[in-house]
C-alpha cells in the first residue's frame, strides 16, 4: 500500500503539495489530564513546537460499571508537532521520564505525514471509528469482544446539514471519535468486529478507518504476566511475506467494501477509475469558530464529510494560569477523503487563506469504510 502511494506521488505533479521542506510529524499523548499536560509541556521543552489539548475519556472494562455508566474516566489528548527526525527520540525521553509503560500510565504515539520517510510501522496500527454521540461506548464494547484493547473516546461534531436551518443556525450532529491502538493483526480483528457490529442500512452512522503509526509507547499488554513494552517500537518497514500478505489482505477487504459503496454512490469520483482510490486523512487546525469555513471549502472540493474537535493550544513549556487565560481555542477538522480531493482541499485552503492560523497534516488511511451501506445522502 505504501509503495503504491509513493509511486502515485512521484508521477503526479500536483502531489508536490504534500511535500514541503519542513514537514512535521505529530506526537499524540493520551493520559490523565494532569499527566498529559506534564508530558506535553516536557515535550515542548524538548523540541516540540506546539501542543493542542483535547478533552477525551478513557474506558475501564467491566460489565456492571459499563451498565451503570461508571466506566468512563477523564483523559486528555495532546497533539504535538515535532520534527520527524527527532520524534522517536522525544518519545523515548517522554517514556523514560513518565514511565508510560506502567498500567494506565498513558499512551503516546507518532504519526508521520503521508509521504515522509520512514513509512509507518507494520507492527502497530491505529483503528479510528467516528460514530454518532453516545455510540462510542458501544464501539469500545464491541472492540473488546475481539481483543482486550485500550480505547479512548473524543467528543466531536460532524459537518452540518446545509439544507436545514434552525433559528438561523445550522445543526451539527454530535460525534464521538474512538481511538484504538494495538498490534496490526489485532487491529484488523478489532476493526472487523466493530464494522460487523455497527454496519447498518441507515445513512450517516459514521466511518471506520485504520492508519499506520510510526512508533508507539505505553501499550499496556493485557497478558497474564502484565509485561509491557519498555521500548518505543520504531520499526522500519519490513519487507517480506508478512507485509505483502497484509497489503493483499487489506486491499481485498477494502476493495470489496468500496465496491459495495460504489454501487450506491453514483456521484463518487472513484467510480471512473478502475483501481481502488487511495484515501488520506487531512487534519486542519484553525482558530475556534472557523471550522465551518474549512468544512465548506472541503465540501466545495468534493469532500464528503468532516469531523470537528475543540481544543486549546499552547506553544510555551511554561504554561501558567495567566498564559492559559490568553490562549486561544482551536478547532481541528478531520477530513477523510480520496487523495485527489485532499489535494484540492489543501490547495484551496492555502490559496484562499480561508481560515486564520491554519495548520494542516496529511496522513495515510488504510481501509476506509462507511458504516452505512444503505442509501447515502
Amino acid at each position: 500500500m505504501m509503495t503504491n502511494n509513493t509511486t502515485c506521488h512521484e508521477t503526479n505533479v500536483e502531489t508536490s503539495i504534500f511535500h514541503t521542506t519542513d514537514e512535521k510529524a505529530i506526537l499524540s499523548i493520551i493520559s490523565t489530564p494532569k499527566r498529559t499536560e506534564a508530558m506535553a509541556l516536557f515535550a515542548l521543552e524538548h523540541g516540540a513546537d506546539s501542543a493542542l489539548f483535547i478533552n477525551a475519556s478513557g474506558t475501564i472494562s467491566g460489565n456492571l460499571l459499563n451498565l451503570l455508566g461508571l466506566s468512563s474516566v477523564k483523559r486528555s489528548l495532546a497533539v504535538l508537532r515535532v520534527d520527524i527526525e527527532e520524534s522517536v527520540e522525544l518519545l523515548r525521553k517522554i517514556e523514560d521520564q513518565f514511565t508510560l509503560s506502567r498500567s494506565m500510565g498513558g499512551i503516546a504515539w507518532i504519526q508521520n505525514p503521508a509521504t515522509a520517510a520512514p513509512p509507518p510501522s507494520t507492527e502497530y496500527s491505529m483503528v479510528v471509528a467516528i460514530v454518532n454521540a453516545g455510540e462510542g461506548r458501544l464501539v469500545v464494547e464491541q472492540a473488546r469482544r475481539s481483543h482486550p484493547v485500550g480505547a479512548s473516546i473524543l467528543e466531536a461534531v460532524g459537518s452540518a446539514d446545509h439544507t436545514r436551518k434552525t433559528f438561523n443556525f445550522e445543526i451539527v450532529p454530535e460525534k464521538e471519535i474512538v481511538i484504538i491502538i494495538s498490534k496490526t493483526e489485532e487491529c484488523r480483528a478489532v476493526r472487523d468486529t466493530i464494522y460487523q457490529a455497527l454496519r447498518t442500512e441507515k445513512p450517516g452512522r459514521g466511518v471506520l478507518y485504520t492508519t499506520g503509526i510510526n512508533a508507539v509507547s505505553g501499550i499496556y499488554q493485557h497478558n497474564d504476566d502484565y509485561s509491557t513494552f519498555a521500548e518505543p517500537h520504531h520499526l522500519k518497514s519490513k519487507t517480506g511475506v508478512c507485509e505483502k500478505d497484509l497489503i493483499v489482505d487489506e486491499k481485498a477487504t477494502s476493495q470489496k467494501d468500496l465496491l459495495n459503496e460504489q454501487d450506491v454512490k453514483s456521484t463518487s469520483a472513484s467510480s471512473e477509475s478502475p483501481k481502488t482510490p487511495q484515501y488520506v486523512g487531512l487534519i486542519a487546525v484553525t482558530d475556534r469558530g472557523h471550522a465551518a469555513d474549512i468544512v465548506a471549502c472541503a465540501e466545495a472540493a468534493g469532500g464528503r464529510g468532516a469531523t470537528i474537535m475543540h481544543g486549546r493550544e499552547t506553544s510555551s513549556p511554561f504554561d501558567s494560569w495567566l498564559d492559559k487565560l490568553a490562549q486561544s481555542t482551536r478547532d481541528s477538522v478531520i477530513i477523510i477523503s480520496e487523495e485527489k480531493t485532499a489535494q484540492a482541499i489543501l490547495s484551496e485552503l492555502k490559496a484562499n487563506k480561508l481560515a486564520p492560523y491554519l495548520r494542516t497534516f496529511v496522513f495515510d488511511v488504510r481501509d476506509f469504510r462507511l458504516f452505512s451501506y444503505g442509501v447515502s445522502k
Binding site: 514537514e23 455508566g69 474516566v73 445543526i171 471550522a291 490568553a326 486561544s328 487563506k353
Partner: protein, 534 residues
C-alpha cells in the same frame, strides 16, 4: 470504579480543607465539646460520601437530561416550543426546590400572612421560568448576555427602591434557594443543550453560561415585584423564630434529619425524573444501554444529595453556630473577622453546585480557565464577603444596601470591560455560591456571632450574608475576565503583529477582529505561518 474514584478525589480536595480548618480552630480558639467534634467529623464524612455520590449522579443523570431537553427544544426550530419549554422547565425545577418551600414558610410567618406561602412559591417559580425563557431566547437570537443582565438588574434596582428593606433580604435568599444543588447542574445543562446550535460558529463557549445567573435574577425580580404589592407589618423583622435544640448524642441529629431530608431530596430530583421519562417515551427512545446510566444517575442524585444534606445539617450547622458565638465571646473582633474570612473561603469550595460549575467551566473552555483558578477567585471573593458580614455585625449602622448598592454599581461598570464568557461565568457563580453549605454553615456562623452582639439583629444580619456571598463572585470573576483581556493584549504586543491579531479571542472585539485581520494576513504572511502547511 472509574468515575466514582475521580469524584471521591475531587470531593476530598474540596471538603478536607474546611474540615481541617474547623479542627484547627478547635485546638487554637474555639474548643468544642467531644460530642460536638464527633458530630462534626461524622458530618464531614457524610458530606464527602454524599457529595461524591451526588456528583456521579449529576454527571450521569442531571447533566444528560438537561442537555437532551435543551437540545430537543431548540431542534424543534419553533420559538413557541422553546419559550414554552424554558418557562415550563424553569418553573418545574424551581417549584420542587425544598429550600424555596422553607423560605416561603418563613416569609409567610414574618409577614403575618400578607404573603401566602403558596403564592410566594408560585410567583418565584414563574419568575425563574420567565428568565430561563429569556435566556433561551437570547441564545438563539444572539442577543448579548450583557444587555439582558443590564435590563434585569435595572428593573431590580427600580423595584428595590419601592420595597421594604426586609424584602431585599427575602429576594436574595430566594435567589440562593432557587439555584440549589440540583437546579444549577440542570440549568447549566439546559444552557449547554440549547447553545449547541451556536457552538460551531462562536469562538468560545459564551452561550453556555449566564442562564443560572438569569434564573437567580428571576427569583429576585419575582420577590421584589410581589413586595411592591404587599405592605409588611412594622414589627416583622423582630419575629425571629428559629430555636436551637442542642443535643448531646452523637447520632441523634442525624436520625432526626434523615427522613425529611430523603423526602426533600426526592422532591428535588422528581422533576428531572418526570422530564426524562416523558422525553424517553416520546422522543428520545434511548436504548437500555444508554438509559440505564441516566436512571442510575438520578438515583445517585437523590441519595447523594440526601446524605450530603444530612451531613451538613447534622454536623456543620451546629458547629458553625457554636464557633460563631464562641469567637464573639472571646471579644477579639480580629479573630472573628479572620475566622469568617477563612470559613467563607473554604466553605464555598465545598459547595456542590460550585464543584459542578467549575468543572463545567474547565471542560467547555478546553482548560483555558482551569478549575483551580476559578475556585481561587471565588474563594477569595466569598471569604471577603463573609468577613464583611462580620464587620456588619460589629458596626451598628452599616446597613446591607450600604455595601450592596456600591457593589452592584461596580459590577455593572465592570461588565463593560468583561468578555461575555466571563460575564456569564461570573453571574452563574453568583447564583451558585450561596448554596446549601454556605446557607447552613456560614449562615449559622454569622447568626451565632450576631447573637453575642446586643445590637445585631440575627435575622437581618443572617440574611445579609447570603446577599453578600452572592455578590462576591460577580466582582472577583469579572476581575478574572478583565485579567484575561489584559493578558491577551500583552501577548499580542509580544508576538509578531499579524499572528497576534488572529489569536485574539477577545470576545468584545472578536467579531471585528476576524474580519479585519484576514486581508492583512494575505498581504504580510507571518513568519511562523511559512511552511506550516504540510
Amino acid at each position: 470504579m472509574g468515575l466514582f474514584t475521580e469524584k471521591v478525589k475531587e470531593v476530598l480536595s474540596s471538603v478536607l480543607p474546611i474540615t481541617l480548618f474547623v479542627i484547627i480552630l478547635h485546638f487554637i480558639a474555639t474548643p468544642l465539646s467531644g460530642v460536638m467534634i464527633g458530630q462534626f467529623l461524622i458530618g464531614a464524612f457524610l458530606v464527602i460520601a454524599g457529595l461524591a455520590i451526588f456528583l456521579v449522579g449529576v454527571d450521569l443523570g442531571a447533566t444528560p437530561i438537561g442537555e437532551h431537553a435543551g437540545e430537543r427544544l431548540v431542534r424543534t426550530g419553533k420559538m413557541s416550543w422553546l419559550m414554552a419549554g424554558g418557562l415550563g422547565l424553569g418553573f418545574l425545577i424551581s417549584i420542587a426546590e425544598p429550600d424555596l418551600q422553607i423560605l416561603a414558610t418563613e416569609v409567610a410567618e414574618l409577614t403575618g400572612g400578607a404573603i401566602g406561602k403558596f403564592a410566594m412559591v408560585i410567583i418565584v417559580s414563574v419568575g425563574v421560568g420567565l428568565l430561563v425563557m429569556t435566556g433561551f431566547w437570547r441564545i438563539v437570537r444572539s442577543v448579548k448576555l450583557r444587555t439582558v443582565l443590564w435590563v434585569a438588574y435595572f428593573i431590580i434596582l427600580i423595584l428595590a427602591i419601592f420595597n421594604d428593606p426586609i424584602f431585599h433580604n427575602f429576594a436574595f435568599d430566594a435567589s440562593g434557594a432557587t439555584t440549589g444543588a440540583i437546579t444549577t447542574p440542570f440549568i447549566l445543562a439546559l444552557a449547554a443543550g440549547v447553545s449547541k446550535i451556536t457552538a460551531v460558529k462562536s469562538e468560545d463557549a459564551r452561550d453556555q453560561f449566564g442562564l443560572v445567573g438569569l434564573a437567580s435574577a428571576g427569583a429576585i425580580l419575582a420577590v421584589l415585584s410581589q413586595g411592591t404589592l404587599v405592605s409588611v407589618p412594622a414589627d416583622a423583622s423582630l419575629a425571629t423564630g428559629e430555636t436551637v435544640a442542642v443535643t448531646h448524642s452523637l447520632f441523634a441529629p442525624y436520625l432526626a434529619y434523615a427522613i425529611p431530608t430523603f423526602r426533600d431530596a426526592l422532591f428535588c430530583v422528581a422533576p428531572l425524573a418526570i422530564v426524562f421519562v416523558i422525553m424517553q417515551l416520546k422522543v428520545l427512545k434511548l436504548r437500555r444501554h444508554d438509559s440505564a446510566p441516566i436512571f442510575f444517575g438520578l438515583f445517585c442524585c437523590w441519595t447523594g444529595l440526601a446524605v450530603f444534606t444530612i451531613g451538613v445539617m447534622g454536623g456543620f450547622m451546629e458547629t458553625g453556630r457554636i464557633i460563631g458565638s464562641m469567637l464573639i465571646d472571646r471579644g477579639q473582633p480580629w479573630m472573628t473577622l479572620l475566622a469568617g474570612l477563612f470559613l467563607g473561603m473554604l466553605t464555598v469550595i465545598a459547595e456542590p453546585a460550585v464543584l459542578v460549575l467549575t468543572e463545567s467551566i474547565e471542560k467547555v473552555t478546553d482548560g483555558i480557565i482551569p478549575r483551580k483558578v476559578v475556585l481561587t477567585f471565588l474563594a477569595v471573593g466569598v471569604g471577603v464577603s463573609v468577613a464583611l458580614a462580620v464587620v456588619r455585625i460589629y458596626v451598628e449602622h452599616l446597613l446591607l444596601w450600604h455595601i450592596l448598592l456600591p457593589g452592584y454599581i461596580l459590577i455593572m461598570i465592570m461588565s463593560f470591560f468583561t468578555p461575555e464568557l466571563y460575564l456569564g461565568i461570573a453571574f452563574d457563580a453568583g447564583g451558585v455560591a450561596s448554596g446549601p453549605m454556605t446557607a447552613t454553615f456560614v449562615l449559622a456562623f454569622t447568626q451565632g456571632a450576631a447573637r453575642g452582639v446586643p445590637y445585631a439583629n440575627m435575622l437581618i444580619d443572617g440574611f445579609g450574608v447570603i446577599a453578600l456571598v452572592a455578590m462576591a463572585p460577580l466582582v472577583t470573576l469579572q476581575i478574572l475576565g478583565i485579567i484575561s483581556v489584559i493578558q491577551k493584549k500583552k501577548q499580542e504586543r509580544l508576538s509578531e503583529p499579524s499572528h497576534a491579531a488572529v489569536t485574539s479571542g477577545d470576545s468584545v472585539l472578536a467579531d471585528q477582529t476576524t474580519e479585519s485581520t484576514m486581508p492583512s494576513r494575505e498581504l504580510t504572511p507571518p513568519l511562523k505561518q511559512e511552511g506550516d502547511d504540510v
